[in-house]
């Protein structure tokens, strides 16, 4: 079943990470307002495939706003014009018939384009690997209710833990800073009693990796918070800075708390 919206798309096409990219214009016709943005692209891709042209590549998977795969920069906004949703949750009723829509990949040196609209966000994984964990082996954990955590603390930790690692914060930032992403994990673990033993080594390890990956610094513009589909707050960055300064000031005490604890 198709709809009656007709749109013009200007889409970034790039064969691979080495090739030069360019905008290519496509018509998206017979679009229903009940379609998600990705379903609209599916329609375009089906028609390209029928002509044996190569479909537009983009990352996507769960299509319910939680896996963090989809990552389109639409009309100058990561995940498009609406707040607090991912690209897959954006529906075509947000757009007007006849509109021209510009679609780009995330733009950041730390997220190189793999093909068309898909980028390599493995830098995020490497930052998590550097220290985004509590060093506890399987087995031997005490009874879960032996650790009391006030509801407000658990809720706040959850609010930070809800980050989906999509990279919209980086794409939104003029400095391509990853500090919202990094601080969300540091805040989640830093708020919880279980995260205390490695709190200061963790922040140092993760920040060091973040810098190594080539992400920029934070200048408190707040674009990340405005564009984050999960509404992660800028205060996470303040908490991270606070822990980082503490760690640096008292680094002698904490230098040996190597995150990972062999």
């Amino acid at each position: 079943m198709s709809g009656n919206m007709n749109l013009t798309l200007k889409v970034w096409r790039q064969k691979n990470s080495q090739a030069a990219g360019k905008f290519v214009t496509y018509k998206a016709e017979g679009i229903s307002e009940d379609m998600s943005f990705l379903e609209m692209l599916d329609v375009v891709n089906e028609s390209l495939t029928k002509k044996n042209d190569e479909p537009i590549h983009f990352d996507h998977d769960c299509r319910e706003g939680i896996c963090g795969s989809c990552s389109l920069y639409i009309n100058g906004h990561p995940h498009g014009p609406k707040q607090a949703i991912t690209t897959c949750q954006l529906h075509m009723r947000t757009f007007k018939d006849g509109e021209t829509i510009t679609i780009e990949p995330w733009r950041s040196a730390a997220f190189p384009v793999i093909k068309d609209l898909g980028t390599d966000r493995s830098a995020f994984d490497r930052i998590q690997q550097a220290g985004g964990f509590i060093s506890v082996n399987t087995g031997g954990a005490q009874d879960a209710n032996a650790i009391l955590i006030p509801k407000v603390v658990a809720d706040e930790a959850f609010n930070s833990a809800t980050c989906i690692g999509c990279g919209a914060c980086v794409a939104a930032c003029k400095n391509a800073s990853a500090m919202l992403f990094v601080s969300a994990k540091i805040t989640q673990l830093g708020l919880l009693p279980q995260g205390q033993p490695e709190r200061y080594s963790r922040v140092q390890a993760m920040v060091a990796q973040m810098d190594e990956e080539g992400f920029g610094n934070c200048t408190n513009t707040g674009a990340c918070e405005a564009e984050c589909p999960k509404e992660i707050k800028l205060t996470n960055i303040a908490r991270m800075n606070n822990d980082y300064f503490s760690a640096k000031l008292f680094r002698e005490q904490h230098a040996n708390d190597h995150a990972g604890g062999e």
Binding site: M1, S36, D42, C62, R63, S69, S122, F133, I134, D155
Partner: protein, 644 residues
């Protein structure tokens, strides 16, 4: 051939402890001499990779996504069961075991299910230690909610994002092992075949999804944790990328596929709006704690609602039929999923469905909002209400949600014994990709439990026994079987890439989905299934003639990836039909129209069908051969399931 599940002897409650003692161990210094391949990084795969690496094994972990954190476990909403009895409401390991066996309509193994219930308590402890932010009460203790098929509150949750939080916990444990060099992680890498040497699984063949390179990897054991096959229906609540390929290719190398016809249709999903739809979105079962399911009592009222002449709130209380509460007073809205789904279908079939298509019933929160206040309802279910609003453009705080059943989970999967080993030595299956613990219907909040049970607490014990038996001698990657299997994969991909017909792979997938949904969905009949089998055979032949696969191998090529997955789904679809035809009884999610009680409930035939159907692949276009594993019940009495 008889199938030996290797269930340990002895009393139910002692089986697992005794078995753990009897399993051989690998000494700490030898563990580093073993390599283990784990495919998939969802709850089962990530937890297994982390736990085995912590023990000292060398682990290679694979996922097709760009990051292990994106595996589809991330999308599980409602919660995870555990027999903690923190609520003092009568829960116990035995009760969780009993509820699960009964919920599965007596088609699961007692030994497996008891073990699952037993280790459920350790899972919660482990996750909390990792920093998973479960919901808490004001005193700082963990909170619980209720789920279907149970009369106790044993479900732990993190708002409506429990799967995400559990997966990020397992992902963090996995990250720690990557950091320590014990796990080598391969992202954007898809497994396309298993390498079998002298009857033992010794490695896999993969395609690098960035470069197209076809590579071989050797190991002492191969563990699959590659999820379910719900996308055989095209539309499901699964992620677009979720697929059966790893399990199916393993099946074609000798691993038996068990109970493929056991698929779960979840009662509360956002209804389909049109053909453009690429997936369906679940509204968590937890909503049935407070939401009331109803449909109009008369067809006339339903007709007015469909035409939007009236709104749901204008339907008077006495014109509404809260059909689950009416028919099942003890469980009410919290009956198991298969029962709730069939009832919704029945209402729609009677012409009392609502929404533009008539394929929907209401899930109403008005009473809960009045009782608890909008803020409390928002705190409990806010993210689900937002998701509903984004998709439908309707505000569920003001009008009831429209919901309808959709494919959500598959109970069938690779056959495994008590040790999670398939019938191919060295090849294991964990989580949704095996068939083991849910029988013919899975209870809500039990998938997360099973995935983590397999990965954290079962495989670290059972795998050691096999490894100790075969010894630490390095696996020879130069054995000709590796190159031969690699060449097979290359030839198969080339065959796909040569398809330059006139119909897209997505069109074939959609068509397959229509066939399976129509004939092997919520209701199945002998006649329909036979017809469907012919349709699928024809579809397969047509696919290999007229499909279009664009692009080349040596690049990012989503079209090629999808084509391989759809080709496997078509073959699996045929096996599902074969299995559904064989099972001339109704049980759980498998509802044969020929076999129902006078009230229209699923009617089992324990005398003839109390077995696991494990299918053996015999070659392209050959009928698969059935092997039966008899189910033995020593502790529970088989009875007609009743939730009245």
């Amino acid at each position: 051939m008889g199938l030996d599940a290797k269930i340990p002897q002895g009393p139910l409650a002692e089986k697992w402890s005794k078995h753990k003692f009897n399993l051989k161990l690998v000494n700490p210094a030898n563990k580093r001499k073993y390599d283990i391949i784990i495919v998939g990084t969802g709850l089962a795969g990530a937890s297994a990779a982390a736990s085995l690496a912590e023990l000292g094994y060398n682990v290679k972990s694979f996922c097709f996504q760009d990051s292990p954190r994106r595996a589809h476990s991330i999308a599980a909403q409602g919660g995870i069961n555990a027999a903690k009895n923190y609520q003092n409401d009568g829960d116990s390991v035995y009760r969780l075991f009993y509820d699960t066996i009964k919920g599965g309509d007596y088609r699961a193994r007692e030994g497996n299910v008891y073990r699952l219930a037993e280790v459920s308590v350790n899972i919660i402890d482990q996750c909390v230690a990792q920093g998973v932010p479960f919901a808490r009460e004001y005193g700082g203790l963990l909170d619980n909610r209720s789920f279907g098929g149970s009369q106790v509150s044993r479900t732990f949750y993190a708002r409506g994002q429990t799967g995400q939080q559990l997966l990020l916990g397992a992902y963090s444990a996995l990250n720690r092992q990557i950091h320590l060099g014990k796990v080598k992680m391969y992202t954007r890498t898809e497994m396309l075949d298993v390498v079998v040497v002298d009857g033992h699984a010794k490695g896999i063949v993969t395609r690098n999804l960035k470069t197209g390179e076809i590579e071989t990897h050797a190991a002492h054991a191969v563990l699959l944790a590659t999820g379910g096959y719900g996308n055989v229906f095209y539309l499901s609540t699964n992620a677009i990328g979720s697929n059966v390929t790893a399990a199916w290719r393993a099946h074609k190398r000798g691993a038996f596929f068990a109970n493929p016809c056991y698929t779960q249709i979840h009662p509360t999903c956002i209804p389909v709006t049109g053909d453009h739809q690429s997936k369906l979105t679940l509204m968590s079962e937890s909503l049935r704690n407070d939401g009331r399911v109803w449909a109009p009592k008369t067809k006339e009222t339903a007709e007015k609602l469909r035409k939007k002449e009236i709104t749901a709130s204008q339907v008077k209380e006495d014109e509404r039929d809260y059909f689950l509460e009416r028919k099942y007073p003890s469980f009410g809205n919290l009956v198991p999923r298969d029962v709730a789904s069939r009832n919704a279908k029945e209402v729609a079939d009677e012409g009392k469905g609502v929404g533009a298509t008539g394929l929907a019933v209401y899930l109403d929160f008005a009473e809960a909002i009045q009782r608890l206040g909008e803020d409390t309802v928002r705190a409990k279910y806010g993210n689900l209400f937002d998701m509903y609003y984004q998709i439908t453009d309707e505000n569920p705080y003001k009008q009831p949600m429209r919901i309808y059943p959709a494919v959500h989970y598959t109970m069938g999967g690779l056959w495994v014994d008590y040790n999670l080993s398939t019938n191919v030595p060295g090849l294991y299956a964990m989580g949704e990709c095996n068939f083991s613990d849910h029988g013919a219907n899975r209870l809500g909040a039990s998938a997360l439990m099973q995935g983590l049970s397999d990965g954290y607490f079962v495989i670290p014990y059972t795998l050691g026994d096999y490894l100790a038996t075969i010894g630490p001698k390095p696996v020879d990657i130069n054995h000709p079987a590796f190159e031969q299997t690699r060449q097979d994969v290359i030839a198969y991909n080339n065959k796909l890439l040569a398809l330059k017909g006139n119909k897209t792979v997505v069109e074939y997938h959609r068509e397959l989905g229509h066939i399976i949904w129509e004939y092997c969905g919520m209701a199945r009949s002998e006649e329909g299934l036979k017809h469907a089998k012919n349709l699928i055979k024809a579809l397969k032949a047509d696919f290999w003639k007229n499909a279009i696969v664009t692009g080349e191998n040596d690049e990012v090529n989503a079209a090629l990836e999808r084509a391989g997955r759809v080709a496997d789904f078509i073959e699996l679809g045929e096996l599902m039909i074969t299995d559904a035809l064989d099972r001339r009884e109704s049980c759980g999610g498998h509802f044969r129209l020929e076999s129902q009680t006078p009230e229209g409930e699923a009617l089992r035939d324990d005398e003839n069908y109390a077995y696991v159907a494990a299918w053996e692949f015999k070659g392209e276009d050959q009928e698969e051969v059935l092997h039966k594993e008899e189910l033995i019940f020593e502790n529970v009495k088989l009875s007609q399931r009743s939730y009245k």
